[in-house]
């Protein structure tokens, strides 16, 4: 399983390069990597989370609503992830071990951003 997941990750990666090129062509800078000229770097939030949004793993307010090539890539990966859904219930004698166990050798500072 681990090999398959890594192979899938490897196969998708070239898409990110293509999306980056598209972003460059349409002058899209979602991370604000280019220095801004605005008088303030604060981003105003105009909305508050609705009650139903608390039951969703997606956010109504964090970041902007994203469309375009990156959101397509994100959706594609999420669809692929459905192939790897863990079983809802563990076998009776299986001790729970979350798959989110980090792999060894990943620096803490980087892992916490993932």
């Amino acid at each position: 399983m681990n090999f398959i997941v890594k192979a899938v990750s490897l196969l998708i990666y070239p898409l990110s390069i293509i999306v980056r090129i598209v972003n460059a062509l349409i002058d899209n800078d979602p991370l604000r990597l280019r220095r801004q000229t605005a008088e303030s770097y604060w981003i105003v939030r105009h909305s508050v989370p609705s009650r139903p949004s608390y039951f969703s793993e997606a956010s109504e307010v964090e970041g902007r609503r994203r469309r375009g090539p990156v959101s397509l890539l994100t959706k594609a990966i999420r669809l692929l992830a459905r192939l790897f859904v863990p079983p809802r219930s563990s076998a009776k004698d299986e001790k729970f071990r979350p798959a989110a166990e980090r792999e060894r050798g990943i620096p803490d500072e980087v892992y916490t951003l993932w």
């Binding site: 604060w42 981003i43 989370p49 970041g63 792999e103």
Partner: protein, 624 residues
């Protein structure tokens, strides 16, 4: 005494969880009251344990006398899909340099992080059948700061490394509602800037930031202008933008880039090498920049909200020097900081969000905060302790009266003995606040060295933190108000400082920082930093019970209302939780005495003090 609020009482039970990133934790609200909260590391004995906090959850449920099936809601402290969006957006922006990072993280997301709810269902073994709630990371922080605070309305400032997109937010809370109004988004992050310098000066990120803060007073902020010109552009309103060409955390496996190293004249310090003046100056510089930004944010937030109260959370809010500048120089009259300001506290925050925003319950605050002195963890009965001590063949004294116990312990402290102190419920958050503490006499010349080398097994350039009777705090420290959670620094008053001899002045400039910090600068040298500051905890009768009475008795005996209060652990070890942990630490160090509730153990009376495998004990914890 366990407080049991059974489900039959009809109280709504909300479990908050933070997990999978850093310092996992669980918190339980029953009927809107914090019934229990704990970090997973205390149970697994793995510092900053990021795994699903099943032990902390089990403890919370046990404390309440309920089961998973009794929970009405389970809340998770961030929104995994929003975080995933940010991650993909970042990898795209930095492709193809992001390849290595992608290959490490995306498999983890495909395997588990994109199936978080299923993961939690598996962890609960199907016993929990209620709904799962997910809150934005910074909203969880904001809730942890505002809802337990003593204020009916307050401005809210959250600062940390990164959540989903936000890294810094401004907001406002009133009654049972809070709203975030402004944000700075990833990758522009004050927390990550500080962490980049933590990495560069050779400390571990996510645990060494407090060392940078402690190192800063030794240096001059000579790199401040360089930082402001190249790394971070700061506006008057506290907002900022960072030049990512100096950093590597978006695309790589380190914090800083070659360009950063070139700017500051060389590669990061090897953690095993000695600290040079460059590192001290770097620490002073980034600390000054951080404080200035915190202060500007606070001033801007005050303009936006016109509130007299400020509450704060997020990892940067553990920067007590910055906090103190906000209190001292900022426009707010009152300041309250979530004691577990890092990600652990967000477990409490999401539980409060469920209670107020989802279940729409009103807020019932009074003049005092709801944090209960953060004594929210497990406690142990005398029977449990006696059984354990007899099981290991320990030699102990048991005191029927508290007065006799305190008399004996204060005698020991006055004789410059080092005492391990386990009393009542364990602290929630990074600080030992008198429930799991190592105590000593701050007036002692040698105490700092003794505690560092023989007990903590470290050679620290930082002094220990003092706790002081609240009513006497003004006699020793220039502190505005109280500091029950050790989140503020204050200067030692002039009258307690002593002028240095020529020899001491020379030592105060020694390249060896340990010699510098050991110069006797005041009547309480073990807790006085080189700039005469101290990270103070005020101790009061309401919050601290027996610990307060211990300090009171120490003052009566010695005339000194101050004690050294350092966390009960060795270097790299989580703070002790159980009597077993405390006993192991006691036996593995040169601590003189151990108090476990009503029991006192003297090291000199233990039959086999050296049978303990000290090296194995020390090796079991990775030094931070």
């Amino acid at each position: 005494m366990r407080r049991t609020l059974p489900k039959s009482a009809g109280a709504t039970c909300v479990l908050g969880i933070s997990a999978f990133y850093h310092d996992s934790a669980a918190a339980l609200l029953v009927g809107g009251e914090i019934l229990a909260a704990a970090q997973e590391e205390r149970f697994t004995r793995k510092k900053y344990d990021h795994r699903f906090p099943i032990n902390a959850i089990n403890y919370c449920l046990k404390e309440a006398g309920i089961t998973l099936g009794d929970l009405d809601y389970v809340g998770f402290y961030d929104k995994p899909l929003a975080k995933f969006d940010r991650l993909i957006e970042t990898y795209v922006a930095f492709a193809p340099q992001s390849f290595r990072s992608w290959m490490n993280s995306i498999p983890m997301w495909l395997n588990s992080k994109l199936h978080l709810q299923t993961e939690m269902e598996r962890a609960f073994g199907g016993q929990y059948r209620g709904r799962y709630v997910f809150a934005d990371h910074h909203e969880s922080h904001a809730a942890s700061a505002f809802f337990p605070s003593p204020f009916q309305e307050a401005a809210i400032l959250t600062l940390d490394g990164a959540g989903e997109w936000s890294t810094t937010t401004l907001g406002f809370g009133r009654s049972n509602r809070l709203r975030i109004t402004h944000e700075i988004r990833f990758p522009h992050s004050l927390g990550l800037l500080y962490s980049a310098f933590t990495y560069f000066v050779g400390f571990r990120v996510n645990s060494g930031e407090y060392k940078v803060m402690g190192l800063a007073p030794y240096g001059e902020p000579r790199f401040k202008d360089l930082i402001l010109q190249h790394l971070i552009h700061v506006r008057d309103d506290g907002s900022f933008w960072m030049d990512m060409s100096y950093f590597n955390y978006c695309q790589g496996m380190t914090m800083t880039s070659e360009k950063f190293h070139h700017l500051f004249g060389g590669p990061p310090r090897d953690p095993e090498s000695s600290i040079s003046q460059r590192e001290m100056d770097l620490a002073a510089s980034v600390q000054t920049v951080c404080e200035d930004i915190m202060l500007k944010c606070a001033r801007h937030l005050h303009k936006l909200t016109n509130s007299k109260n400020l509450v704060m959370a997020g990892g940067v809010a553990l920067n007590c020097v910055g906090n103190s500048r906000i209190l001292r120089e900022g426009p707010f009259e009152n300041l309250w900081i979530q004691p577990a300001a890092g990600d652990a506290g967000a477990a409490l925050g999401v539980a409060y969000l469920v209670w107020h925003h989802v279940a729409s319950h009103p807020r019932m605050n009074d003049a005092r905060d709801l944090q209960q002195g953060s004594l929210l963890g497990p406690q142990f009965t005398d029977t449990e302790i006696r059984d354990f001590l007899q099981g290991v063949g320990a030699c102990y004294h048991v005191f029927a009266s508290e007065a006799d116990l305190l008399e004996r312990v204060t005698d020991l402290l006055a004789q410059e003995k080092v005492v391990g102190w386990l009393n009542g419920r364990m602290e929630f958050g990074p600080r030992a606040l008198g429930a799991r503490s190592i105590l000593g006499d701050p007036r002692s010349r040698s105490m700092q060295t003794t505690m560092n080398l023989k007990i903590k097994f470290r050679e620290s350039f930082r002094p220990f933190a003092p706790c002081v009777l609240k009513e006497d705090a003004g006699e020793y420290f220039g502190l505005q108000g109280e500091s029950p959670y050790m989140l503020l620094v204050a200067p030692v008053l002039e009258k307690h400082r002593r002028s240095l001899t020529d020899r001491e002045k020379a030592t105060a400039m020694d390249p060896d920082l340990r010699k510098r910090v050991n110069v006797m600068r005041s009547s309480i040298p073990a807790v006085t930093h080189v700039d005469y500051s101290a990270r103070v905890q005020t101790v009061d009768a309401d919050r601290h019970g027996r610990f307060y009475r211990l300090m009171k008795q120490f003052k009566e005996k010695s005339g000194c209302p101050v004690l050294i209060n350092t966390s009960f652990n060795i270097r790299g070890e989580p703070i002790v939780c159980t009597p077993q942990d405390a006993y192991r630490c006691f036996m593995g160090t040169d601590m003189d005495a151990l108090v476990l509730e009503d029991f006192l153990l003297m090291k000199s009376e233990q039959l086999k003090p050296r049978a303990f495998d000290l090296e194995a004990y020390k090796a079991s914890f990775k030094p931070d």
